[in-house]
């Protein structure tokens, strides 16, 4: 049995200033298996994988590859030993071709150092063919879509023909189709003898691919179980240390009358969109990547041009030409990209919380009322359960889930009447997700209508009272909560099969 173990981590401990990221963690990977690693943000998954990948060195503990203890000095060193890691952040050079990115710094050469472009292209084609990918080796990465880039990252790691392949959240930007393709490729690798470590927040995926599951919590190894027979609840319980029950919660109060209307809205990527929102209603907006949901949201918020159409709020026709006007009218927008477009990463929690509503914190002569701002930030910290030593902490240092809560707190400060939440739990662990759902439900109970855009279908099905489906820029169908299922929503979103209901 022992020679079946290709990678073993024994008593790995890693401490960063102020926090013990890993505490005597044990982990082993068997040849040809897919071993899933789950845990909340901050549980230590990424740290452990950085150690496996040679980026960090453990403070103590051993790493054994093929039964022999090794010391991994660098990522390149790990790669040479057959360990290849696909990290969450994209690591491609945008101005170089697909071929040059896959073989980064490993291009075939002749005459010493000159790149053999014929061989480079040939090897790239072989690789693309092997994994059934329709990409041109010469295409520049900057011209590829995010989904294509993510697939390219994976291909890059696979090109090392590693013994151990680590995939860290590989499907966050992938469509359902690409995800299935990835799983097929993973099967192929398994058959060829590669062992895989798979990290994902999507527990549903874990059940599709994993042979064994290891749960980490607070830097400690909780348990390693065979995937067969495991339930989502069992995993979550071990991740969080308590049962979460239905994380999506239940509607707390009645839905009010219609108060926000969008008529014949058209813009760059969407056409003739019409819908109405009721007070306290959570309206889900489902669709495939590229269907135009975010573009619609941005136009409603004044961040993009609305070429045609009208918005009515509480009977008043709105004229919104900029986010400023949208905020003033009572529309708030939680962006899907909190790092780049939502938060001010280098500023403090306090500064972020008051950002969209600075005017409310100005006293006489336009000077900032420090006390009011601090009080607001403290109240937000308590109300939203933001885990941080103080509101003066830089937002960049918070975990994904807490950053998302700061984003939510920011927008609550503007007292919106309508909130557009775009991917509110992307990159957020299960524990923080349930808290965010609770906060959204509280908001709805207070009468705020929420437009929920999400590619997590279970999230939409769990939270929304009504679901609109967008396809190629148009509203393709509407489902009442009771009649929506994963299958029929996806079918409607992809344009497959029967007519979409008009709800």
């Amino acid at each position: 049995m022992a020679d079946d173990v290709i990678l073993q981590l024994r008593d790995i401990t890693k401490t960063f200033p102020g926090v013990r990221a890993l505490d005597r963690v044990n982990f082993d990977l068997r040849r040809g298996e897919v071993h899933a690693l789950v845990g909340e943000n901050g549980a230590g998954k990424s740290t452990l994988m950085h150690i496996v990948g040679g980026v960090y060195r453990p403070d103590s503990g051993d790493i054994l590859v093929g039964g022999r203890p090794v010391r991994l000095r660098s990522a390149h060193d790990a790669a040479l030993r057959g360990i290849s890691v696909v990290h969450q952040e994209l690591s491609l050079a945008p101005n170089l071709s697909v071929a040059e990115n896959i073989f980064a710094n490993r291009q075939p050469v002749r005459l010493g150092d000159l790149i053999d472009s014929g061989a480079l292209e040939g090897r790239t084609r072989e690789l693309l063919h092997r994994f059934s990918l329709d990409l041109s080796p010469r295409a520049l990465v900057k011209h590829l879509s995010v989904a294509q880039q993510q697939v390219l990252e994976i291909l890059k790691a696979m090109s090392y023909r590693p013994r151990v392949l680590v995939l860290d959240e590989p499907t966050s930007s992938l469509t359902a189709l690409d995800t299935q393709r990835l799983f097929r490729n993973m099967d192929q690798l398994k058959a060829e003898g590669t062992s895989l470590i798979y990290i994902s927040h999507h527990l549903g995926e874990i059940f599709q691919v994993a042979d064994r599951v290891t749960v980490l919590r607070d830097g400690r190894h909780v348990e390693t179980l065979p995937a067969a027979g495991l339930t989502e609840d069992a995993i979550v319980r071990r991740m969080v240390g308590r049962t979460l029950g239905n994380i999506y919660g239940e509607r707390a109060s009645d839905i009010g009358p219609e108060y926000f209307r969008v008529e014949a809205a058209s813009g760059g990527r969407f056409h003739d969109v019409r819908f109405a929102l009721r007070r306290g209603e959570i309206l889900g907006l489902a669709g495939l990547v590229g269907a135009g949901r975010t573009e619609l949201a941005r136009a409603l918020f004044g961040a993009e041009r609305l070429a045609a159409g009208s918005l009515t709020l509480d009977g008043r026709l709105l004229r919104i030409r900029s986010p400023n006007e949208a905020i003033a009218a009572g529309i708030g927008y939680l962006t899907e990209d909190r790092k780049d477009q939502g938060l001010f990463l280098r500023m403090t929690v306090r500064d972020n919380c008051i950002a969209p509503a600075l005017a409310r914190f100005a006293g006489r002569l336009g000077m900032m009322d420090e006390r009011r701002a601090a009080a607001f930030a403290e109240a937000a910290r308590t109300r939203f359960g933001i885990v941080t030593p103080s509101v003066r902490q830089t937002v960049r240092n918070l975990s994904g889930g807490n950053q998302q809560k700061v984003l939510l707190a920011m927008w609550m400060g503007t007292a919106p009447k309508v909130l557009i939440a775009d991917e509110p739990t992307r990159g957020v662990d299960v524990g923080a997700k349930s808290e965010i759902y609770r906060l959204l439900r509280q908001l709805a109970a207070a009468g705020v209508g929420i437009i929920l855009i999400s590619s997590d279908l279970l999230e939409v099905l769990g939270l929304a009272d009504r679901i609109l489906v967008m396809r190629q820029g148009r509203i393709a169908g509407a489902f009442a909560r009771s009649e929506a299922t994963e299958e029929n929503v996806i079918a409607c979103a992809s344009g497959v099969g029967q007519e979409c209901p008009s709800g």
Binding site: A75, H87, A93, L96, H143
Partner: protein, 326 residues
């Protein structure tokens, strides 16, 4: 099917060509030359062509190094001062009896030394390239003032002057040296696995490290190389003019950076070619020539060079926005 297929979008040929900065520059150059030819046919002489090439040869040599630096995300404001110091040190040495070859090596050594200092500050200590090279620009120019005591150096040995003033089949040496270096530089940047590491560094330093690239070592090499190339430019200039002026190299950095950016390099890094930089230099030189031919006030020179840079960058940014909006 609304599903995004994993394929390369069909990009028509016209788009592809327009994306290539070199192609666009060639078109503009031909247009400029065409314009000059029509307006003043008598000025289309070989002598004039050589004069244009000669004028830009010094800056094109430095542009090789500057292109590589910009690709890797770096920046060097001290090249003009380095050219001046290398020429001054070599000049003083040769005037005081040091053999020409040794003098040249000394000058190149000065260039390498300045480059190394830049590289160490930027790569090892981590100071911002703009600030580091701005400081060095002053320090090095100051050294020139100190060792020359504000006096030009004349009386350079004939053998040295021959390097800058000789011709081969009617083509002046500096032009030949420039073309050879540019050709080698362009080829290596396209084909050498070692030099192409710069594109990865410019495309994402963290990712470059993960790919096994020694980023610090590459950066130090880049600055040292640029220093040496600046020294070469300084030495050839001194050889050409027969003396070392105290102001040799002043404003060289601005001209070089303008040429390199017109040629397609970006301040963000990850883009650019040596050929583009050469074409950029060529375009700037052609514009200056056109100014002369059309008897426009020379006082317009600086204005027009600056405007060319702004227009080039504007076109670049707008076309990028259009592309990503599709």
């Amino acid at each position: 099917m609304a599903e995004l297929e994993l394929g390369t979008p069909r990009r028509n040929l016209a788009r592809k060509l327009a994306d290539q900065r070199e192609f666009v520059l060639v078109v503009i150059l031909l247009a400029t030359v065409g314009g000059v030819a029509i307006a003043s046919p008598e000025s289309m002489t070989l002598d004039n062509l050589y004069a244009v090439l000669l004028a830009l040869s010094f800056q094109a040599i430095v542009a090789i190094g500057m292109t590589i630096l910009l690709i890797s995300g770096g920046f060097d404001l001290s090249v003009g001062s380095t050219a001046g110091l290398a020429a001054a040190v070599a000049g003083l040495a040769m005037v005081n009896g040091v053999p020409v070859v040794a003098g040249i090596l000394l000058g190149l050594g000065v260039g390498a030394a300045v480059g190394l200092v830049n590289g160490l500050f930027i790569a090892r200590i981590g100071i911002n390239p703009f600030i580091t090279t701005l400081g060095m620009m002053g320090v090095v120019r100051g050294l020139v003032d100190i060792i020359t005591q504000g006096r030009n150096i004349s009386g350079l040995p004939d053998a040295f002057k021959w390097i800058g003033q000789g011709t081969v089949l009617g083509v002046q040496h500096p032009i030949l040296i420039c073309l050879v270096l540019v050709a080698i530089g362009d080829l290596l940047l396209r084909k050498s696995r070692f030099l192409r590491q710069n594109y990865y560094i410019g495309g994402g330093e963290k990712a470059a490290v993960l790919s096994g690239i020694n980023v610090n070592r590459m950066k130090i090499f880049n600055y040292a190389l640029t220093g040496v190339l600046a020294a070469v430019a300084g030495l050839i200039t001194a050889a050409r003019f027969g003396n070392v002026s105290v102001t040799l190299g002043k404003n060289l950095e601005l001209q070089v950076i303008t040429a390199v950016i017109i040629g397609g390099a970006s301040l963000q890094g990850g883009e650019g070619t040596v050929l583009g930089a050469l074409l950029g230099s060529l375009l700037m030189a052609m514009i200056v020539t056109a100014i002369n031919i059309f008897h426009v006030d020379i006082y317009w020179n600086t204005f027009i060079i600056g405007a060319t840079l702004l227009v080039a960058v504007l076109i670049d940014v707008v076309s990028k926005k259009k592309r990503s909006a599709v």
